[in-house]
């Protein structure tokens, strides 16, 4: 039971102690992802040979600190959901390493998948499809616990606790089936199920996107409250920029399988560095008919990830694109030396881009 004593409010009334699993201490990032890559082969041609690949995730790396919420944004097809699935190993990465609180995942000395998934859980967008229609809510939640070797009685008690935690009265709900619940209630069950094994990291992949606005706000409040009470860390993936701004501490922007910008939420939203982030942020619709948008901030759709453009992948839609952008792929770097990093030649001193300047912090950024 020792692994269930981490949170400040123990699920089973256990005394609040520091986690036995918090091995690296507060300074050790909970998750370090380095250079993960996934190419999906497209079998084509008469002999079924893998001729081309969809480069869904192409060398993505980032860290997640303990207790923070990392938001991940990008258009459809940018690889944000594939990244999530790679992290929890629903898909096997082609390359790259994942380190969970100092322990590498997989490999001879690393964490096994079972150990990792006890600490990392995921909530998906489609609340109905991610529940087994033939299991009651109670069975849904206890299933994973029993698979982890927890006895029936303890599992049943835990199910009650987590249902309470997500605001569903156990005596009313635990014998119901998924089809008897509303969308918001189903998503609460999914959250409860994820929390039942007492994870440290919860990956929320578009977890509120399918909900109605009034219900979305309830679930967002719930997630916030749970994070505080259970000392959770979130990776929050969404296409909704307003929601990401609301929940995140730091935000990661993806474009065609690459990380193109990463920074603290306020800096990134107020002074986006990458032209794509800038365009994405100005595409947000206002809540006032007085402030309508007159000109689309970005033209065209994201290109096909099968044959991404050479060099910088955004250059085909970029208003700053120059010769250099087609020849050389920009690397993530911090133009101002802070925590805000960007992969763009126009923001990298001495890159050869005319907007970049030569060196030093003399660059002026357009204000959004």
């Amino acid at each position: 039971m020792s692994m269930f004593m981490r949170s400040r409010v123990g699920f089973d009334g256990s005394p609040a102690t520091a986690s036995a699993l918090d091995r690296g201490g507060p300074a050790q990032p909970l998750l370090i992802v380095d250079g993960i890559r996934k190419y999906f082969p497209i079998t084509s041609g008469r002999f079924g040979g893998a001729a081309t690949y969809v480069k869904a995730v192409d060398g993505v790396g980032f860290e997640v600190a303990k207790g923070e919420t990392l938001g991940v944004v990008g258009e459809s097809g940018c690889g944000k959901s594939t990244t999530a699935r790679l992290l929890i190993r629903l898909i096997e990465p082609d390359a790259g390493t994942i380190v969970l609180d100092g322990d590498p995942v997989g490999g001879p000395r690393g964490l096994t998948l079972r150990e990792m998934r006890r600490q990392v859980q995921m909530v998906f967008q489609d609340s109905y499809a991610s529940l087994n229609p033939r299991l009651t809510i109670k069975d849904t939640i206890t299933f994973g616990l029993k698979a982890n070797g927890i006895d029936r009685m303890t599992a049943a008690r835990r199910a009650q606790t987590v249902l309470d935690l997500v605001g569903l009265n156990p005596s009313m709900f635990d014998q119901r089936y998924p089809h008897e619940l509303s969308g918001g209630q189903r998503q609460r069950v999914n959250i409860a199920r994820a929390l039942a094994v007492e994870p440290r990291l919860v990956i929320l992949d578009e977890a509120v996107s399918a909900l109605d606005k009034s219900v979305e706000a309830q679930v967002l409040n719930l997630l916030r409250e749970l994070k505080r009470r259970l000392a959770l860390t979130y990776i929050f993936i969404s296409h909704d920029l307003n929601v990401v701004q609301h929940v995140s501490d730091r935000v990661l922007v993806m474009y065609l399988g690459k990380v193109i910008e990463l920074g603290p939420v306020d800096l990134l939203y107020q002074r986006p560095l990458h032209p794509y982030t800038e365009g994405l942020l100005s595409s947000r619709l206002s809540m006032s008919p007085r402030k309508r948008i007159d000109k689309p901030p970005l033209s065209g759709d994201p290109p096909n990830p099968i044959n991404p453009p050479s060099g910088c992948r955004f250059r085909t839609r970029c208003h700053l694109a120059e010769d250099i952008c087609g020849r050389l792929e920009p690397k993530l770097g911090a133009p101002s030396g802070g925590p805000h990093v960007v992969a763009c030649h126009a923001r990298t001193p001495s890159s050869g881009h005319s907007a970049a300047g030569t060196a030093g912090p003399t660059i002026t950024f357009p204000s959004p």
Binding site: Q185, R224, M287
Partner: protein
């Protein structure tokens, strides 16, 4: 095309779309649900009405009732007049003639609304030939014009593309082109941008705004997204449990919402500059239409309810173009 459409919108001063006391019930052996319970509105040429609501509020069913695109178990009551014609009295042949020519619809998911085994050009040509009785060559010429109208780059090449060969944004443009192919005077759009990315969504909304202005159609858009409504609507109507609970000009509704549900919806929508604050959601969930509470349907979730709300029907009031169905306000 522009000229023709303008000529068509000519003389009559009465609104193009007039709906009064519309009700839709789905009735079968084991089902009896009132989905729309007495909705009335009018839309003039050149005007855009946005119907806002959550899932299950009856907004899509209302829209589909205007074209009678509902399954046979639907019983439609009330009156629907499009350009003075009583839609509910039309026979099958007449109905087919007005669909596309007088009124047409843009759907949410272009991949399922377009036929995957025909090229975009063929599909548009087919509807032009069927309605206007022109030759296939003329129909194809018109299809090209339409793709250009909706700003599809290299339109000529795209005529021979199958829907799956187009990106989401281009597919949605192709569907708009098809909806416009027979110069409808009333355009209906059901969540036209919900399936699209933000950067593409704004392109489509701007295109729709431009087309609305140039072609002078009456437009009705159904959406759950306040941002989308703010971008395109002249007037907005908020729907809850099969009824309009509030309607008025877009500005009035967004800046001075009067119904507690509208107010709650605005409060609970996440927008910029709210980082870390607790949100103020509407408690509970939308009601089950098969089991509507008596009195005001919003009463169980309403922060401003009073004793009589649970029993008596909320009064409907008009106040200089602003409509509200509530005892308050």
């Amino acid at each position: 095309m522009l000229k023709l459409a303008r000529e068509k919108m000519s003389a009559t001063a009465r609104p193009l779309v007039e709906v009064s006391d519309l009700s839709v019930r789905f009735v079968s052996r084991d089902l009896d649900i009132s989905v729309v319970n007495g909705v009335s509105f009018a839309v003039a040429a050149g005007e855009a009405l946005c119907i806002l609501g959550e899932s299950g509020s009856g907004k899509s069913v209302t829209l589909r009732a205007l074209m009678r695109l509902l399954p046979p178990i639907a019983q439609i009551g009330g009156r629907i007049a499009l350009d003075g014609r009583d839609v509910l009295a039309l026979g099958a042949g007449e109905l087919r003639r007005i669909r596309g020519a007088l009124v047409s619809m843009i759907f949410q998911e272009p991949m399922t609304a377009l036929d995957p085994v025909f090229t975009v050009g063929t599909q548009i040509t087919e509807s032009v030939v069927a309605h206007d009785g022109v030759s296939r060559t003329a129909g194809r010429r018109r299809a090209l014009e339409l793709l250009e109208l909706v700003q599809i780059p290299s339109a000529k090449r795209r005529l021979d593309a199958y829907p799956h060969e187009l990106s989401g944004g281009l597919r949605q443009r192709a569907m708009i082109a098809m909806a416009l192919s027979c110069r409808p005077r009333v355009l209906l759009a059901d969540e036209p941008t919900t399936a699209l990315d933000a950067t593409v969504q704004i392109q489509i909304l701007l295109l729709m705004r431009e087309l609305m202005r140039d072609l002078g159609m009456a437009v009705i858009i159904v959406t759950h997204d306040l941002g989308v409504a703010c971008e395109v609507a002249d007037r907005m109507a908020v729907m809850y449990a099969g009824r309009f609970v509030e309607s008025g000009s877009a500005l009035a509704l967004m800046e001075r919402p009067m119904h507690p549900y509208t107010q709650g919806l605005l409060r609970s929508t996440v927008h910029g500059g709210m980082r870390g604050e607790a949100l103020d959601p509407i408690p509970g969930a939308p009601p089950d239409l098969a089991d509507l509470p008596s009195g005001c349907a919003f009463e169980p979730r309403c922060p401003a309810k009073e004793a009589c709300c649970a029993t008596c029907d909320p009064p409907a009031r008009h106040d200089t173009g602003h409509f509200i169905r509530c005892i308050h306000g």
